[in-house]
Amino acid sequence: MSAEVENARPDAGGRPDAGERPRAGDSRAARLSGTGRPWWSALVVVIALVVSVPVVSVLVQALASAGDLALPGNLGEMVVTTVALLALVGLGTSVLGVGLAWLVTAYDFPGRRLFSWMLVLPLAMPAYVLGFLFLSTFGPAGGPAHASRSVFGGSSVVELLSGWMGAPVVLSLTLYPYVYLLARAAFRGQGQVTWDAARMLGATPWRAFRQVLLPLARPALAGGLAVVMMETLTDFATVQYFGVRTVSVGVYLTWKGTFDFASAAQLSVLVLAFAVMVLTGERLLRGGARYDARGSHRPPASPTVLTGAGRWWAFAAAASVLAAGFVLPVLQLLWWAVTATLADSSSLSTGRFATNLTNSAVMAALAALACVTLALLVTHGVRMTGGRLARTAAQLTTFGYAVPGAVIGIGVLVSFAALDRSLEALGVPGGTGLVVTGSVIGLLASYVVRFLAPAYQAVDASFATISPSVTNSAFSLGASPLRVLRRVHLPLSRSGIAVALVLVAVDAVKELPLVLLLRPFGFTTVSVWVYELANENFWEQAALPALLIVALAIIPVWFLVRQVRLAEPHRQVTS
């Protein structure tokens, strides 16, 4: 989730034409060893290739079966739905994200400091949890619908929130923090100087915002929106609550309905095309603009102090979003969890809770270990070789985060099936396909593809703090690459490794679409359990596992908040 924020880090690979003057960490002498250790280069390249196998096999499978298109009849409808959903979620997250970011940056009102980080919290609320809360609240049986029916008679806009409208609203409420974080960083980065300059030239606050700050925040906005769109494309669980059929839903239903690789792969390529469009859109919106986003030496703009009713309107705006996206849902979940447990205290001790929790925990632990091990090998490998090939390959290992879950899922299935077939062809008996595809190994593989990026970024950030001359010193003292890893790099990047483990584990527990697609029969994780209970309207029983997921998901959000706060120019800047 910190992908975009991390990407703001300037490329650390200094070019050799930089001077030789002593400049900390930047001098030639501090550059990485560029002597090429072919084994390490090869290792990084192999990892990158393995990670990209699922996407490649989706493409190959789709191409191979391109002769007989087996797309569902309602394809056009699905495409239109996907476009509409992306547009609405994009609009919703932009309005919420930019609006709130501007509010807490430019204006002072009661609770501003607290809101400025609390508004990130909805990121910890998985859409499939907020989704079923919307269903229960605004559905026909819910209080608001009841009230509005008795007031207005008939169905109303309230009921729309449990219908198709629920999908974009829920996704916007859970995803806007991506836009919010980047927009706020951009607004703060531009600081007082830009703002003052615009105002001194006679612009009203609104005009200064619209014509100066907003264009300057455009690259950040593009980045945030791209993440939002990717998450929207990946989701095929939440939208199903609301009867919304996107292309990703199509992939899932096609696979579960027909178990036909060809049509699932063909639809996956369509999803992939959407993802490519989103990324291209981001490039275009960014427009090659590279505004100085560092600005850390500039004092942040001092906010306008709101007075009178204005301050309470501002408060209400921030508070209502936070309430809708996080506070009320958590309270509702708590209430349900307590009442359900009191009503039937045996629910906690029933086998299902323990089993599902164990499944989630084991999967999360395995995924975290696998991702961090690979991330560590890649990062260390890049430092061992210092070559461009290894660096490019390392970047490639992170692309799974930008591939919608449905594509990864189908890709893993396709590639494992191909593996099975070739094993069978080689005379290995029992390669029935289901042995591998129906096992948790497939699920684990998809986790690795998807979550290698956050693991790599955390470990890489930690490695960036280890001076290349420390590595070179270790070499000059006769240490082999493995000994450098064990005795120097590993202990020095401990904190990054810990962060990576936590991030991946939490992401894995939260993950729903991949599990739905790839789980072996009868294998249920906590997230799937919540989804299944919610789908059957057992909301009270879904509350406790859902709370567990939310509680875990707060951890990476906390990391993110802390990271952002550390990276931000601080208030005590003397001017």
Partner: protein, 363 residues
């Protein structure tokens, strides 16, 4: 004496930039060599080539008798080459003792302990063995880094601007300690610096580098007093250049006759501030008339810049008791006994057998 490090025809470029160009260099066993040059001259690249942190595009590098780059490739960890960085690069998670022990892992533990004590004694830091790098001062860190590099008894120790991160006041002291530790162990060392005083004071040999080649290689005295080029002359210390032309007695510049040789039609004379004397006009005092243009107090010396009749300026160091006010008319000349270098174009003219400056007007 056998050589400790030998480079033959070594080239290395980064993309378009040629960092080191067909370079030859031989460092003898036990000597301390200083490489000096401006930014981007390739001196650090040369160090990295010896360390094995870069692979040469062409040429061979040998450490001792062993070729380590060229026909064969020996990675840095198997070269027996010690490295000391400007930022010291101690392992922050290891104590001083463990930092030093890091390079001794192939020896039995008792030997390791003995060696740790030995090298720490060498740099007078036996008392910090259990401390961590962040608990040490910059000077102490530098000495620990040296001890760590010396511990595995490398063939050669490479030092990359090792003192430039230290305070001015600390630098001379740490530098002296470093040199004495290197001398005490007879270790061959190559030191990269951009500080001419440092290079002149500690190098047995100095290599002045420019644009990827060693422009001059020699003992400090040679490099300073007989620069082979205009670049070396101006880089190693301050220098002014005055045109010289043929006169009856030989070759003369505005400050007077500089050589009796007559084989060069025109040349330039290199004069350094300490070679120019200024005296007040008086009977029997000779010299070129000049006016004091600027006076700079430099502590032990006072730097006078004087303008000659031609409009050229020449700098002169005067003892700090002598200070001529701006505008004073003085007579400038080359100090007695000084044999200035001559340049033809950008290259120095080979010195002639004992030229006699200023004297013998009648010949």
């Amino acid at each position: 004496m056998s050589s400790a490090v030998t480079l033959r025809g070594v080239s290395k470029s980064y993309g378009e930039t040629l960092a080191v160009s067909a370079l030859d260099l031989t460092v003898e066993q036990g000597e301390i060599v200083a490489l000096i040059g401006p930014s981007g001259c390739g001196k650090s690249t040369l160090l990295r080539l010896v360390a094995g942190l870069e692979r040469p595009d062409a040429g061979t590098v040998a450490v001792g008798d062993r070729v380590v780059a060229g026909a064969e490739w020996v990675p840095p960890e198997r070269r027996r080459v010690g490295l000391v960085f400007q930022e010291h690069a101690l392992f922050p998670h290891l104590s001083v003792g463990d930092n030093i022990r890091f390079g001794l892992d192939r020896q039995p533990p008792p030997d390791q302990d003995a060696r740790v004590r030995e090298v720490l004694d060498l740099v007078h830091l036996a008392h910090v063995v259990d401390r961590y790098p962040h608990e040490l001062s910059g000077g102490e860190q530098q000495r620990v880094a040296l001890a760590r590099a010396l511990a595995p008894r490398p063939e050669v120790v490479l030092l990359d601007e090792p003192f430039s991160s230290l305070d001015e006041s600390l630098r001379a002291r740490v530098r002296a300690d470093t040199v004495s530790a290197l001398r005490a162990t007879g270790t061959t060392a190559i030191l990269v610096t951009h500080d001419q005083t440092e290079a002149l004071s500690i190098g047995d040999h100095i290599g002045v580098m420019r644009a990827g080649v060693v422009e001059q290689w020699g003992r400090p005295v040679e490099v300073f007093e007989r620069p082979v080029s205009r670049f070396v002359a101006s880089f190693m210390g301050d220098a002014d250049f005055l045109p010289a032309s043929l006169v009856d007695g030989g070759l003369a510049c505005e400050l007077g006759l500089v050589t009796i040789r007559k084989d060069v039609p025109d040349a330039e004379v290199v004069v350094r501030p300490h070679e120019v004397s200024l005296r007040l006009p008086a009977a029997g005092v000779t010299g070129a008339p000049a006016v004091v243009d600027r006076v700079e107090y430099q502590g032990p010396f006072i730097l006078h810049t004087v303008r000659l009749a031609s409009g050229r300026t020449v700098r002169s160091w005067q003892p700090h008791s002598v200070r001529y006010p701006v505008g004073t008319e003085v007579l400038a000349s080359i100090s007695a006994g000084i044999v200035p270098s001559l340049l033809s174009g950008d290259a120095a003219l080979a010195p002639t057998p004992t030229p006699t400056p200023t004297a013998h007007p009648d010949r």
